[in-house]
Symmetry: C2
Subunit: 232 residues, 2 copies
DNA sequence: TAGATTGTTAATCGATTAACAATC
DNA sequence: TAGATTGTTAATCGATTAACAATC
């Protein structure tokens, strides 16, 4: 009753690969702007900051888009990665919490550019509502449900204080949003089917502090494996 | 009353574990504020958003800080994780690029609180230099080397436009900074021994877009094997 | 063809998870 | 003791890497 894998090309791109595709895309766009028509895995990997074996393995999950002996056509690979990432359509984004961070996000180039469209900026603070930010007028948080419905928002960005984040998230989810990007330092609870990604400054700092401490700590680099031991 | 840490414990905590320790720490601090004296791996895992097997495995890399049949002492575990992460000392941080993002970072609670100290805010724009942000006066980028030396800055935060990031990074590294947190959308080149962590809004958005697309795509969940494709 | 470079294989490494003996 | 929960084991899963046959 269970037919086997129906397709020759097995999909299901590994999560680690998905996380690197945007990096490759950015590197390719930089090459494209410099007018480079074609690039080898070695060169692209170097620009993207990975090794070439990993790059080729990653790209092989998308299909065979290179030419042996030649490399990859930059334009074509940009298109293929964009398509795979879902950037050939526009996703509507709503940002809640228009403090410094929300403003930084709204003004961030990455949003306006291909693939995303800011549908609304919302805040709970009446003194902020009505401000012009990145060419948009800040709306009141009470309009969240209406905006999500009318503008078909599929990605909600939370840039509120920690205490408000879960409440905003619940409202997003209830209104039909299925992807959330959370900048507030809390773990959000969401039902199955909703994706949450978290960007957390203090976690990044703490990870750096850990490694920084290791560097001082007797200066044992990444290679340190414990005391000298003889063969078993 | 037994000797608590009998031996130096084999070091070399897995990277994946290090990345979760800050999450556990935050969860423990929340429990602590609610006055919870003791917590089981099951409960702590639930607050931190992981499963309990992973939590116990992670904590086992630090040592045996729990009590069978009882759980973990919240205060004690906070202390042990803080120590492991290097948060029992203060790390000096300099932030370069005091636009909206830099201001958001400077005002972010996670900085001021235990473990980190903002030593300087720097910008290249003369109209920004002298501004008061988070109680500090913004300095000129030309003072970077002096500030890093005098304030013993060990973590550099880059919140500049992409085009300026590598140059600022080089100056940090040359001045002796060995950890960099980069918010600019570029891959930074650093010599061995320097750690770079990257926070990249547009990458996070693109990863969400990928999963969002999969949800629409015939609603096939993780198993979807792709559309029919033509011959190569 | 000869040289270059991909796409794939297979080995290795690291992370996750369930299960349970140890032990409070 | 009896119940609860840790810390560890071992199986599994997923990611990385080097090497090279395929092939442009």
């Amino acid at each position: 009753m269970t037919p086997r894998t129906p397709r020759p090309r097995e999909r299901g791109i590994p999560e680690a690969t998905v996380a690197r595709l945007p990096v490759y895309l950015r590197a390719l766009q930089a090459l494209n702007e410099r007018g480079t028509p074609t690039v080898s895995s070695e060169d692209l990997a170097s620009v993207a900051g990975v090794n070439s074996a990993k790059l080729r393995k990653d790209l092989s999950h998308l299909g065979s888009y290179g030419t042996r002996g030649v490399g990859y056509d930059v334009d074509y690979l940009i298109y293929q990665i964009s398509r795979e990432l879902g950037l050939t359509q526009d996703w509507s984004v709503a940002i809640v919490g228009i403090g410094n961070l929300g403003r930084a996000l709204a003004n961030y180039g990455g949003f306006g550019t291909r693939g995303f469209r800011i549908a609304a900026l919302l805040d709970a603070d009446a003194t902020v509502v009505g401000d012009k930010v990145a060419g948009l007028s800040v709306g009141h948080i009470d309009t969240l449900e209406a905006v999500v419905g009318e503008e078909a928002v599929s990605i909600g960005v939370i840039a509120t204080p920690a205490a408000a984040a879960q409440g905003v998230c619940d409202r997003f989810v209830e209104a039909g949003v299925t992807s959330v990007l959370n900048f507030a330092p809390v773990v959000l609870n969401v039902p199955p089917g909703v994706d949450v990604r978290k960007v957390d400054l203090s976690i990044e700092l703490q990870i750096l502090a850990f490694h920084e401490q290791r560097k001082s700590d007797g200066h044992a680099g990444p290679e340190w494996a414990g005391p000298v031991e003889g063969p078993a």
